[in-house]
């Protein structure tokens, strides 16, 4: 067998045939789901209830100001700023008499600072109350007002994207956002996780002093590439298992949905979401929702997204993995050296993440376009843009330029890292800085 494939096989097997691998592979998605669920739960539950005493000089807020679960407006007698706390109110709202539509300030006082969201809610509610009052003054009845409010929510926005041949495809910004952010985030995490794995592996070989035995039978470059490829394969295996796991869960979930609802969903699919009024078929709320999720998933170009994801994962990993390997090779036993040497590698990754989180909102700014072509940031940023559609948002030439520069980029970084690695792996007892590493990388021999 070829030497490099032997090394790859060892690196791969020693990591995959490990209880820890199975455990992290299974637990990471659960942790992810748990994290999202937890965050949502606390976002909903974590709001403080406010009991607000309103002192209104105008007299109409009592009828128009609407309370909800978190904001309880009350209009007690004899409450002022000196005693509202002792009477059990968390805040007091002082509304002076309005003089026509002249600019005026109203004041909320509270013991604790009010959060941004609560502040917005209070001012929204006050504005709504004033609006209602003005509409009533203009001669509209309360009942009319409420029924108009309710009826007016009939229109729905559907964004379409040009796909040539006079066909426009429905697009879903929310889905694009989710897919773009999710895949960018995954690439970000994996670069750190697998990059650090490469670095630790190289450090282990160096501190164990096995490196010298190894390089007397294989080229240092083979040793480095074997490790990088082997660990990359571990990463791909992990993704594959996750994909299988997710599809398994989705299929399992479908079996849990009652058959009659699934029947309704397939009827909806048949009529493309619009059941003719004369038809016998009916669709309940649940079926409507499932159909909506299904059809918005269908708007994404999954083969392109998954294909590009794999490409950018592999490319980005190779680009940064070899740099991590180079750092690992110059570090001695002291892990703190590794920390400081890693900064020039981690900074661009973190920076790319920031660009990515903006690009996912606005995929066509010039910084997003450039960052998706430059190999330092392209794996993350391009994934954020690709979710919005190829070739609609990302023209083919940009995709090609980005892919080519990433391939060129990782060829360059592996070549440089190989030279640093060759010198560093056998160097003990000497602290090496980036200046020296650059010298090794670019010297001719």
């Amino acid at each position: 067998m070829n030497k490099i494939s032997l090394i790859i096989a060892r690196e791969y097997k020693s990591r995959v045939q490990n209880k820890r691998f199975l455990l992290t592979t299974l637990l990471t998605p659960l942790l992810f789901v748990g994290f999202i669920a937890g965050a949502t739960f606390f976002a909903i539950q974590g709001k403080e209830a406010h009991r607000i005493a309103v002192v209104d000089a105008n007299g109409f807020f009592k009828q128009n100001l609407k309370s909800n679960k978190n904001l309880q407006f009350e209009f007690p007698e004899g409450v002022d700023t000196s005693n509202y706390q002792s009477k059990g109110y968390t805040d007091i709202l002082l509304i002076p008499a309005f003089a026509g539509t002249e600019k005026i300030n109203y004041v909320v006082r509270s013991k604790k600072r009010i959060g941004l969201v609560t502040e917005d809610q209070i001012s929204d509610r006050i504005n709504a109350a004033i609006e209602d009052k003005m509409l009533l003054d203009a001669g509209i009845q309360r009942s009319q007002l409420d029924s108009i409010r309710e009826k007016s929510r009939f229109a729905e926005l559907k964004a379409m994207e040009e796909r040539g041949e006079e066909k426009a495809q429905e697009s879903s910004a929310a889905l694009s956002y989710g897919v773009g952010f999710g895949s960018g985030m995954l690439i970000y995490l994996t670069m750190f996780i697998y990059g650090a794995m490469v670095m630790r592996g190289v450090m282990e070989e160096k501190t164990n002093r096995i490196a010298e035995v190894m390089v007397s039978s294989v080229k240092p470059f083979q040793l480095m590439m074997g490790k990088i490829i082997g660990i990359g394969a571990v990463g791909l295996t992990q993704f594959l298992l996750w994909i299988v796991l997710i599809f398994g869960l989705i299929t399992a979930a479908q079996f849990l949905i009652p058959a009659n609802i699934m029947q309704e969903v397939s009827t909806l699919q048949q009529y493309q979401g619009q059941i003719p009024s004369g038809s016998m078929a009916q669709a309940g709320d649940a079926a409507q929702k499932i159909y909506k999720v299904q059809s918005s998933f269908a708007t994404a170009n999954w083969p392109v997204i998954i294909g590009c994801f794999l490409f950018y994962f592999v490319g980005g990993y190779l680009f940064y993995g070899s740099l991590f390997g180079a750092v690992g090779s110059v570090v001695n036993e002291d892990p703190q050296d590794a920390q400081s040497l890693m900064i020039p590698i981690t900074m661009p990754i973190i920076f790319s993440f920031i660009i990515m989180s903006n690009a996912v909102n606005d995929p066509n700014t010039s910084i997003a376009v450039w960052a998706s072509i430059i190999p330092f940031s392209s794996p993350m940023v391009m994934m954020a843009r690709i979710a919005y559609g190829v070739p609609g948002t990302v023209p083919y030439w940009q995709l090609a330029a980005s892919m080519l520069s990433l391939v060129g980029g990782f060829l360059l970084t592996t070549w440089m890292s190989g030279k640093i690695y060759r010198t560093g792996i056998l160097l003990y007892g000497k602290k090496v800085g980036w200046k020296e590493m650059f010298k090794w990388a670019f010297r001719t021999s």
């Binding site: 032997l6 090394i7 020693s14 164990n208 490196a211 010298e212 035995v213 007397s216 039978s217 294989v218």
Partner: protein
């Protein structure tokens, strides 16, 4: 027979020092060769060039009659570095197999050889143990096995006995002799001189990157002998005076005499016989390699250099 390894004018300079400065020597097939030198003399750099880990700045290495090609000739060399290294988390059997395959052996052949060596060194029960569970001596044995497994023509051992108890050291020593008898050449790098005297046929001493001594152990001892003899007599009364020798040392059982230039050992014996003493024994005192080593190295800058970084 042409030598297995021939070095000519090898040089390797680092930024701050000349680690190996114009060293040439050759090693006969089937010999056990000692490469000696104080710490920091350039031994490791020299060995790394011979194993193809470093490229020499200039000079040439000829292995087995051909120019040394690090990539193809890996199978001909077995190298056990001074700093031992194994994958700690790997099982012992797998590790030996992996290293053998990296040297270019086929799996089946490697398995057979591993089993043979494990049996020989009583390591059979270790197969599924991990390296981190081994004692230092045990992992030393494993390291030795992985070095010689592929039956290299040239075996390079850097301090092979450090960390071994006398029993295991003898076991390994016997294996080294056995390998040499089967035709392998052994380069043995150390600064333990008593081992060198016992094992090596031929030695080279390097210091400060230069070769300062080259020859067989016997020749070198002859070369550095001080013409001193230990003399044991039936009694030590009325010792004779004679221009052929000086008395250097005297104790209850023996005298140490230094033969003066221009005289032979027989002149000394005649002087003692003439004075009516019975000679019980008469033996030349040859310097130990240790003494030669210290004499040659002491006083040079070697000790201070040993603490410089090995860039």
């Amino acid at each position: 027979m042409d030598p297995i390894l021939q070095l000519s004018s090898l040089k390797k300079h680092y930024a701050t020092q000349k680690a190996v400065d114009d060293i040439s020597f050759s090693i006969e097939r089937g010999s056990i060769f000692g490469l000696l030198g104080p710490n920091g003399a350039g031994k490791t750099t020299l060995l790394r060039m011979i194993t193809g880990i470093f490229f020499p700045d200039s000079g040439s290495i000829t292995l087995d009659g051909k120019k040394f090609e690090p990539l193809e000739d890996g199978i001909k060399i077995g190298y056990m570095p001074e700093e031992r290294g194994l994958y700690k988390k790997m099982k012992i059997g797998e590790q030996a197999l992996y290293l053998a395959q990296l040297k270019g052996m086929e799996k089946a052949e490697a398995m057979e050889k591993i089993k043979y060596w494990f049996r020989k060194l009583e390591m059979e029960t270790w197969w599924n143990k991990k390296v981190e569970d081994l004692s230092k001596g045990m992992s030393q044995k494993l390291q030795f096995v992985t070095t010689v497994l592929h039956e290299p023509k040239l075996i390079i051992l850097d301090e092979p006995f450090s960390g071994l108890d006398p029993l295991n050291a003898n076991l390994i020593k016997d294996e080294i002799f056995g390998l040499a008898q089967k035709g392998s050449t052994v380069i043995f790098s150390t600064h333990r001189m008593e081992q060198v005297e016992e094992i090596c046929d031929h030695i080279v001493l390097v210091n400060l990157g230069k070769k300062i001594l080259d020859g067989t152990v016997k020749d070198i001892k002859q070369q550095f002998k001080a013409h001193r003899f230990a003399l044991e007599l039936n009694h030590q009364d009325a010792l004779p005076q004679h221009p052929s020798f000086e008395l250097v040392d005297q104790n209850a059982s023996a005298l140490t005499v230094q033969i003066n230039p221009g005289f032979q050992s027989n002149d000394v014996l005649q002087a003692f016989m003439g004075s009516g003493h019975q000679i019980v024994s008469f033996k030349e005192i040859l310097p130990s390699l240790n003494e030669i080593f210290i004499r040659l190295v002491e006083g040079t800058a070697a000790t201070s250099r040993a603490f410089q970084s090995q860039n």
